[in-house]
């Protein structure tokens, strides 16, 4: 029989101080029974002799210091996982909320996971086709990568995430694929958009959803990504599936982290976020990758909204230091009606070199990527110059590049929400756009590829 304590000495924000406790372990799971019988869960943040500091995931509202009973469960937070979780919806703490029966776990796992040994990792190198040109060609995603989307308030990141979840595939492979979706503090509407989109397209059958809404307990958000990643690790490394994990919105997660830190009166780092936020985020993001000799993989796509579209804010900043690149959305493109509004110049996929080329995508991929990005940058420079000096002041070549930049945004970046472009289609569009530039300006593509892929090049050579 577990000991029960009715010795709560202090309640502050999401934290409880319980006194006269015996043998409490750090990080232990705690159950608090309220006067009405309601159960709330928490974890031990600090275990001292006779005292324990407990963080409650469901908050302390309505908690009665005299009546509430605290039990220490003698284990860390665990999640019972099973392949039956596919197709189900859970709350942020892993309890079913879709009206279905409880999941019978095949195994119970510590949600904190363990750090993956770097010597056991396999380097990510398989191209994932998302069907979105600005990602596939310019910032390709590979299996086992963690590539966040840096968005801003009001930008269409939910649509993009849903589109990626629907379309993502590894070419030529018929392997088990799953999506684990964790929502943290997003609105009902946004969550509903995802769930109904998954249902409508049938994607839900291969998806596991963890949903913590904006009005759900704030601190529960700290558990949500861990629940999702524990599930993902099970599916990937025990069941050999390729798992795409979408975490949205990491900004809300970090806010919850700050709330706990403030309640503990810790010394704050930048902008009031705790000094250990980097470590904490790394514990989430690093749970992506591949393991040598195992078939499965975890690819992460965290989404965060940059406060004031500021990339240097601690949340995007620390994220960028951990993840392998970032896809940045641009308000300017969005305002011009371009979907997906991906800022190609600022986005980056660090693993791109490993994922592209012959056999993976197409031999000309690297050339097209380099040439398009160089030409687009030059076009944007010309555009800036035209704003200052007027278009008439541009040289003829610069005007060509300016036209190219416009066409690039309209034809290459822009595409439909349900438009699933193959990498060949994407690269071909790239070549069509390049064909409008003077041939002498195409310095970044090899002659061989130019001959083979540039529209009109073969005829010109034959003539």
């Amino acid at each position: 029989m577990l000991k029960e304590y009715r010795t709560i000495a202090e309640v502050s924000g999401p934290l409880l101080l319980v006194e006269q406790v015996d043998r409490v372990k750090f990080d232990e799971l705690v159950e608090v029974e309220l006067a009405g019988g309601e159960l709330r869960r928490g974890r031990v943040l600090e275990a001292s002799e006779g005292r324990a500091l407990v963080q409650l995931f469901e908050g302390t509202t309505g908690l009665d210091v005299q009546e509430a009973r605290v039990r220490f469960l003698g284990k860390v937070i665990e999640l019972g996982v099973s392949t039956e979780m596919l197709g189900r919806v859970f709350d942020g703490f892993g309890r079913p909320i879709d009206g279905g029966p409880p999941v019978i776990p095949e195994v119970r796992l510590d949600v904190n996971g363990n750090p993956l040994n770097p010597t056991a990792r396999a380097y990510p190198s398989e191209f994932i086709q998302t069907g979105i040109s600005a990602i596939d060609c310019m910032n390709p995603l590979v299996r086992g990568q963690k590539l966040p989307i840096f968005s801003g308030a009001g930008l269409p990141h939910p649509q993009m995430a849903a589109q990626i979840a629907r379309q993502a595939k590894v070419r030529g492979a018929q392997e088990a694929f799953a999506v684990v979706f964790a929502a943290m503090g997003i609105t009902f509407e946004e969550a509903d958009y995802f769930i109904s989109d998954f249902r409508r397209t049938g994607a839900v059958e291969r998806a596991v959803l963890f949903v913590n809404l904006a009005d759900d307990p704030v601190i529960e958000r700290l558990a949500t990504p861990r629940m999702a990643l524990t599930t993902a690790e099970y599916l990937a490394f025990e069941k050999g599936m390729h798992v795409l994990v979408i975490l949205t919105d990491m900004t809300n997660y970090c806010e919850a982290l700050r709330e706990v830190s403030a309640a503990r009166k810790e010394v704050p780092g930048r902008r009031g976020y705790p000094g250990y936020m980097y470590t904490d985020l790394a514990l989430v993001y690093e749970r992506a990758g591949r393991i040598r000799g195992k078939p499965g993989s975890i690819t992460q796509m965290p989404i965060l909204t940059m406060p004031e579209d500021d990339k240097t804010h601690p949340i995007p900043d620390l994220t960028g230091y951990i993840t392998e690149g970032q896809v940045i959305l641009s308000r300017e493109l969005h305002n011009r009606g371009i979907y997906p509004p991906i800022n190609v110049s600022q986005s980056l996929s660090r693993l791109k070199d490993k994922g592209i080329g012959p056999e993976k995508t197409r031999e000309d991929h690297a050339d097209v990527l380099n040439q398009l990005s160089a030409a687009y940058d030059r076009g944007k420079e010309a555009r800036e110059l035209a704003v200052v000096l007027g278009e008439a002041a541009l040289t003829a070549v610069d005007r060509e590049f300016l036209k190219f930049a416009d066409a690039f945004e309209q034809r290459f970046v822009r595409q439909g929400e349900t438009e699933d472009r193959s990498i060949e289609t994407t690269l071909d569009i790239g070549w069509e756009l390049m064909a409008a530039l003077p041939r002498s300006e195409l310095k970044r593509v090899s002659d061989k590829h130019l001959q083979k892929y540039l529209p009109g090049a073969q005829r010109a050579a034959g003539a």
Binding site: F26, N112, G289, K311, G320
Partner: protein
């Protein structure tokens, strides 16, 4: 007699009544025997930073002091290893415990079974003192491991040496010293937080050649020097560090992945055994030691990892090698320091970092240097440190960058605007500096060419002028410039694109010798000078800019190292073509 845990808060554990507790001694905490280090003593209480995850640990569990400070094992077998922050071999852990790093694993840093062929260098009766060579072992085909008299042994005579195969723990020599007989094995231990003693320090006068043009020519680092690379994410810090590990002309490389990405360490692990050492053609891994504490591994071990790395580096320096140490990234080390400090409830300095951040960073970087090693042979060794810094938001005014800049002599400022324009390495030439240039110039003048220092100064002046001219262009357009100024812009562009830009992924371009660097820069400047004279003689700028030789200059950086005479031929071509253009006017 055992101590007892009274409080657990993340990586910090407070314990009471540990018998014989001393500052920085290693303790074993709890039933699992987690490894920790005492970092504060107050009355009966000791604060311990624990190098492993502490969940499940509670008050009342036992704490035992090992009575020894945190130490590393030194001896043959270090090369090609990959260690975690407290020198546990990660490959052995993987073989033992599977894909995840689980807790409570205790493993020696060096293989106890493996036998090494010890070749004595002394004979019985010979007098030796600390630092003297006792014998050698072929550690890898690239590294001759020199077994030295440990620094704490007083002068004495050799009583016995044992040639032949031995494990690291077996005695290879017996010394007779005033304090008694002393058996010496190849295995030595050294506390990580204490610098290893040297004979004396020397001023740095020899460059650490890296094969990276922007570094070697413009912002060189000396052997035994210190450099830092701060830059926002995505600006290419890691690629620069990898390039340096691959190409720097050091004998030994120690690479510390401190709180960085797991996949990046995997990349190093997979790539280094494939890469060939440019001088010997052997795998690079044979002269490399990796210390990997990725961002998801316990935070306290991250704090220790840079000390583990530098102690190993010092050990090889003491053998008389040129050692280069890369730490990526020291910001994560500082953050670990901050986290522990916060949990100790110390009074914070700037941005929550402890007030001693600056002094700790200084202590670390001061362990670099070119030295005369201990011992009677006056061997020279050097230890150079290159530390990456990850300033939040790319803001260089933050405490870690500032604390680092106060100590290091070379600053390679990475610029994400350059990175966005795909200019790599994205080292901003106007922002960066090296305080070694004047000390190294005599060496360069002798090795590369007498005009080398002057060329660099001139090229730098052109880059400076470009920045000023660009201001004008932005305001009033390029037409407002004189032909001379426009030529300067073109030359600056050429320096940027044909010299400073260097592709890490191009077979030839990835490494550039000093001789080639010198020729390339001289070529660009020669064109500039001759074009300038032609311009003054009335030749139109357009004609000069359209000369076919310019295309060749742009491709000159792809010239293989064996065919450098082609660059001299190109210089002659510049003279002819510019001369012809001038004659046409």
């Amino acid at each position: 007699m055992k101590g007892r845990v009274v409080k657990v808060a993340g990586p910090l554990v407070v314990a009471e009544d540990i018998p014989g507790a001393r500052m920085y001694d290693v303790v074993r905490v709890g039933e699992r025997g987690l490894i920790g280090e005492i970092i504060e003593l107050r009355g009966r209480r000791a604060s311990i930073q624990v190098y492993e995850e502490t969940s499940g640990l509670g008050p009342g569990e036992v704490v035992i002091s090992t009575g020894r400070p945190l130490s590393v094992e030194l001896g043959p077998g270090l090369m090609s290893s990959i260690y975690d922050g407290i020198q546990r071999p990660l490959d052995v852990i993987a073989a033992m415990a599977g894909e995840y790093v689980t807790r409570g694993i205790e493993l020696p840093g060096l293989d106890r079974e493996r036998r090494w062929e010890f070749v004595p260098a002394v004979e019985p009766g010979q007098t030796v003192k600390a630092g003297d060579l006792l014998g050698t072992v072929e550690e890898t085909p690239l590294v001759e491991h020199r077994v030295l008299v440990p620094p704490d042994v007083p002068e004495g005579t050799v009583e016995e040496v044992r040639a032949g195969a031995a494990t690291v723990e077996q005695t290879v020599a017996v010394l007779k010293t005033p304090t008694g007989r002393r058996e010496v094995a190849m295995l030595q231990r050294w506390p990580v937080r204490r610098p290893r003693p040297v004979g004396r320090k020397l001023p740095p006068v020899v460059p650490l050649t890296t094969g990276q043009r922007v570094i070697d020519t413009f912002f060189p680092i000396a052997k035994g020097g210190t450099a830092c690379i701060p830059g926002p994410f995505g600006s290419g810090k890691t690629v620069v560090q990898h390039q340096l590990s691959k190409w720097a002309d050091a004998d030994i490389i120690v690479f510390i992945g401190c709180g960085e990405r797991g996949n990046e360490m995997t990349d190093v692990l997979l790539e280094f055994p494939e890469l060939k050492d440019p001088r010997s053609g052997r795998p690079l891994m044979e002269r490399t030691v990796l210390v990997a504490n990725t961002s998801n591994m316990p935070v306290a071990a991250r704090e220790a990892s840079i000390y583990t790395g530098i102690t190993i580096a010092e050990y090889y320096r003491d053998m008389g090698y040129d050692v280069a140490l890369m730490a990526d990234s020291t910001s994560r080390w500082a953050e670990a320091l901050r986290e522990i400090s916060g949990r100790l409830e110390e009074m914070p300095g700037e941005e929550g970092y402890p007030a001693y951040l600056g002094s700790r960073a200084a202590e670390f970087y001061e362990r670099s240097g070119r030295v005369v090693c201990l011992g009677s042979s006056a061997r020279e060794g050097s230890l150079s440190i290159v530390g990456a810094v990850s300033p939040p938001g790319g803001d260089l005014s933050e405490p870690v960058t500032q604390a680092t800049l106060r100590i290091v002599k070379v600053f390679w400022g990475l610029d994400d605007r350059l990175a966005q324009r795909k200019h790599f390495p994205a080292i901003n030439w106007l922002l960066s500096y090296s305080l070694y240039t004047s000390r190294l110039d005599p060496y360069y003048a002798e090795q590369a060419g007498p005009d080398f220092p002057e060329n660099r100064t001139r090229a730098m002046a052109i880059m400076q002028e470009e920045a000023e001219l660009e201001e004008i262009v932005r305001l009033v357009g390029v037409d407002a410039l004189s032909p001379r100024q426009r030529l300067t812009l073109e030359t600056a562009k050429s320096i940027r694109e044909d010299f400073l830009y260097q592709s890490a992924f191009h077979e030839v371009d990835t490494y550039c010798s000093m001789a080639k660097q010198h020729r390339l820069l001289r070529l660009i400047l020669a064109f500039h000078d001759q074009a300038l004279r032609a311009l003054e003689a009335g030749a139109p700028l357009e004609a000069l800019l359209e000369l076919p030789v310019r295309e060749k200059i742009a491709r000159a950086r792809y010239t293989p190292e064996e065919e450098l005479e082609r660059l001299d031929a190109l210089a002659a071509e510049v003279a002819t073509q510019v001369g012809q253009a001038r004659a046409r006017t």
